[in-house]
Symmetry: C2
Subunit: 569 residues, 2 copies
């Protein structure tokens, strides 16, 4: 099918398909979102007002079930950061959108005054149905009802109660290959931008759709094969297959960077009970619905995801990822994986970002609203969110607002967005990424933990972060998972071949970097137009002063380095 922009006006319940502007053709995913925001969204607009647009954009390689390469990007001006935002997820939404010829789907126009909608996207076009009966339902129940109504083969993007309430830590959930709404465009409040347009869900019914055409199928397949071989051969892929991202817990602990009790230490005494090894042992011992290795997207050969079941064999949550273990586990002083898993399910069901929510609860614990190490206290706070109480709304707005309201200064955020589970005082290159990424604090924008450097040395971090940020912006534009990088790094020609095989553009081996560089420039331009300055590209003051045990290090990468990485100098 021809690639089209699908433009949707929820207030008028109108939608149409339009041609793709020339300058948007060679972008997808994160890069395309930045381009659209720059071209169509006033940078200073109210993110929860009518001038913002919420954009779904599959990456450039999406559509052929290349392993780890079918991600869906969702973006808008962020109500959490006030800047450019792209958040990508696995699952089946990207694949089905591409099969219908969707280059990008845009929600735009006035905010509806009343009534909730569901948007159904099919080969024949778009239509609206009422979503009123779904309001108040958690994400899992809403997804189940939507599957009952629209069939088991559709893809879904939906919001939970947090998105309905326009809470700025709300995300958008997509179905994984087993139809669980667990693949989340979690970061930056995209669920709130969907909520103010009173759209509970998009149903993508790819029936009758087609794989996107290949200009040179042989070339594409050759690139795909090379890449897949390298992914499979990479030792790290096996580790992720066995331990999932949870394997990172022991690594960050070793670096003294595991967020513990409100980012007050980099070591947690309960590490052995929350590590990837502990998780794997528990899953294997229990059997039942548990699975140590699970693919979030069809065709993925890494399968870093998992299904975590209780002693009775029933699923607690799928997946349980390292960042959640860090923010909801050690950061809250909780060392029981079952409890962490149950909190994770609850956060997913609310439709929230587990990173910003975990960080917010850590701030609340500092303020005495729950005790560190008390899962019941954490559940009680999540229940406040579900009930939409004032405290619940505060927490659902994320860690930055929670700190402001509760008068807590020790808040781990950049540009209003909470830090993932790598304390920047002990893995300083990732701190540079947190500080300077146009997206706000986000490990997926340039994690440096695997680099062979002294992570405590402030002098060697800037270029490391810069390179990682360019590569990640490239992968996010291609639609590739962060772990696809294990393969692409060994086989840069694979990207060239797949892109040329699909589009015939004649790009070179450096296409990843070309895309990444362009994407970052576009994002920086949007943020500058929105009013960002070098003062926004900083780690919070308290982290430059308060030493982090066990290394007793502070974040001390120079501001000159930060300004250089962020493109100010």
């Amino acid at each position: 099918m021809d690639e089209r922009l699908w433009r949707v006006d929820v207030a008028r319940r109108e939608a149409h398909r339009a041609p793709v502007p020339e300058s948007w053709h060679r972008l997808g995913g994160r890069g395309l979102i930045a381009r659209i925001l720059l071209d169509e969204v006033p940078a200073t607009c109210d993110p929860l007002g009518p001038h913002n647009k919420l954009i779904w954009a599959p990456g450039l390689i999406v559509g052929h079930m290349v392993s780890s390469c079918d991600r869906i990007s969702v973006g808008a001006k962020s109500p959490l950061t006030g800047g450019v935002k792209e958040s990508n997820a696995g699952g089946t939404t990207g694949l089905q959108m591409v099969s219908l010829g969707i280059k990008a789907l845009l929600l735009e126009g006035d905010l509806p005054a009343e009534g909730w909608s569901v948007l159904i996207v099919t080969r024949d076009g778009l239509r609206f149905e009422s979503g009123d009966d779904l309001i108040g339902l958690g994400a899992y129940a809403a997804a189940e009802r939507l599957r009952g109504r629209y069939g088991d083969k559709v893809a879904l993007s939906l919001i939970g109660p947090a998105g309905e309430m326009a809470l700025t830590a709300a995300g958008i959930l997509n179905l994984d290959k087993d139809r669980v709404p667990s693949r989340i465009n979690a970061r930056g409040g995209m669920g709130a931008v969907m909520g103010v347009r009173r759209l509970k869900a998009i149903v993508v019914d790819g029936a009758g759709g087609e794989k996107p055409p290949l200009t040179d199928a042989a070339l594409f397949k050759a690139g795909q094969k090379l890449y897949t071989q390298e992914v499979l051969a990479h030792p790290q892929s096996a580790i992720y297959r066995d331990y999932g991202t949870a394997g990172l817990a022991m690594m960050t602990y070793g670096f003294g960077a595991l967020p513990t009790r409100g980012f007050s230490s980099g070591n947690f005494e309960g590490i052995d009970r929350i590590s990837g090894e502990a998780l794997r042992d528990r899953i294997l011992a229990r059997g039942g619905e548990g699975d140590t290795s699970h693919a979030c997207m069809p065709g993925c050969v890494i399968r870093s995801s998992n299904c975590f079941a209780a002693v009775d064999g029933k699923m607690i949550v799928s997946p349980l990822e390292y960042e959640t273990i860090g923010l909801v586990g050690s950061n809250l002083g909780i060392d029981d994986l079952d409890e962490i898993g149950r909190l994770n399910w609850e956060i997913n069901d609310l439709g929230l970002d587990s990173i910003d929510t975990g960080a917010a609860l850590g701030v609340a614990a500092q303020a005495g609203l729950m005790a560190f190490g008390d899962p019941a206290g954490a559940h009680a706070l999540l229940d406040e969110i579900r009930r939409g109480t004032p405290l619940g709304r505060v927490l659902g707005c994320g860690a930055a607002v929670t700190g402001k309201v509760l008068g807590i200064r020790r808040v781990p955020v950049v540009k209003g967005q909470a830090m993932p589970a790598y304390d920047p005082r002990a893995i300083k290159g990732t701190g540079v990424t947190y500080a300077t990424s146009p997206q706000g604090a986000d490990h997926t924008c340039g994690l440096t933990i695997r680099a062979k450097v002294d992570h405590l040395d402030p002098k060697v971090q800037a270029d490391l972060s810069r390179t990682a940020q360019i590569n990640m912006a490239g992968y996010d534009t291609l639609g590739a998972c962060i772990f696809g990088g294990f393969g692409f790094a060994k086989a840069p020609g694979a990207i060239r071949d797949m892109i040329n095989g699909r589009y015939g553009w004649g790009v070179g081996e450096d296409f990843l970097q070309v895309l990444g560089f362009e994407t970052l420039k576009l994002e920086q331009a949007f943020n500058r137009a929105a009013g960002f300055t070098p003062s926004d590209d900083r780690i919070p003051e308290w982290m430059t002063q308060e030493p982090l045990p066990p290394h007793n290090s502070v974040f001390d990468v120079s501001e000159a380095d930060l300004d250089r990485v962020a493109g100010w100098s």
Copy 2:
């Protein structure tokens, strides 16, 4: 006494007097605060962290009981706006500080970890005593206890429970000439900056102090006389004497700019029950402790303040000002002056800014947390603040945070600070001031309501606001009340003569503008260093779209005009 800087480290309970740097000599009040912030406070620092400084600075003419000219400025980097902040008040603090030779008093250094202090400032120096017994007391009770302890002649600057909780709409209260803590450095959260240093009060004991020396006493007196004559002769002075600022209610109503039910209309059907005439009639009819004309500072000949008593003759609150009537009255749909007065007393006792608090309650009413027109509902919300509940903390952080948490888009703020009682869609020159003042939305930075222009015409407002902003920055640096301008406008030579008579500087008739221009430049420089851009100098998006009855006007002064006034172009 020689003018000195009094530097105070609360954490170490140390203080000392230091010489005044040469470049600070010719500034006072607001201008001096901007200069000190630029010189000593990192612009990007955490406003509630150790690098911020809280500064008391009397204006340049303070000390001789010139009518309306003994105001005390308090400033810091604002935790509400993130930018430069000066908030001035009447009362006796400025006068007594000057009599002790205080050019400026700075709170600086680390934040104390525990224990509350009272700082006592006398002719002999500074000392600390415990303030622990005062914690949790409302401002009225705390002031009474402090007067009991330190005598009836001292001046006080103190915080209420809101400041103790570091709520960002908290102010600092000073005693008026009748020793009521009703003269408030209200705006921008200065009370929170005092609260994080765990300082409940400053006691200024001017015993043994002296009036500041005059270089040419005859010249000073001549200037003072000329000014006082012009103030007394101005017809507006008589109106303020009789009706207080409440006289403005009918005027803004007439212009269709009276904030009504969450800034949804410029006309309020209850105007006749909340006007200056209604207030005067009620005060006169009741007698008792009521007084239609009251001086907030010794020596004031305008006496625009008032004492508002109930039917039993007992004081409800003193004063009841127009901005409170607008924000807590019509903005909340409340048309009973007694109820407005009782809410005002409560807000004062909490130590909050009545403008930001009234605006926050208006946002809460939009969210359904109280009904418009329900004083009991408003009291219940203020009680939440007193109890420090999560909702109370949200409200006490002001309208901007309240809107963010409650998901309300229609929030009347600029730079995070709430608008006073002049809707910028109907008095657009004041809207230009709100948008472009380095202080955030603040009528005292350049009110244009008395200019003989079409207040709806977007084309004629920029220069009007600019001139008013320069003049007001000058008055705030001299220590003169906004109403002193009635006299100075007719007798610009009076400023020249008083300054030359006091300091011998040989300034010209344009000294007011010289001071104002310099002050604004310093403030703009601080804000730029803090990360402000033209995008911060804007009226909220919704006010550029939602027409305001009865004129159905939107705020439509061009961004080019705003950028010019703000010094960007």
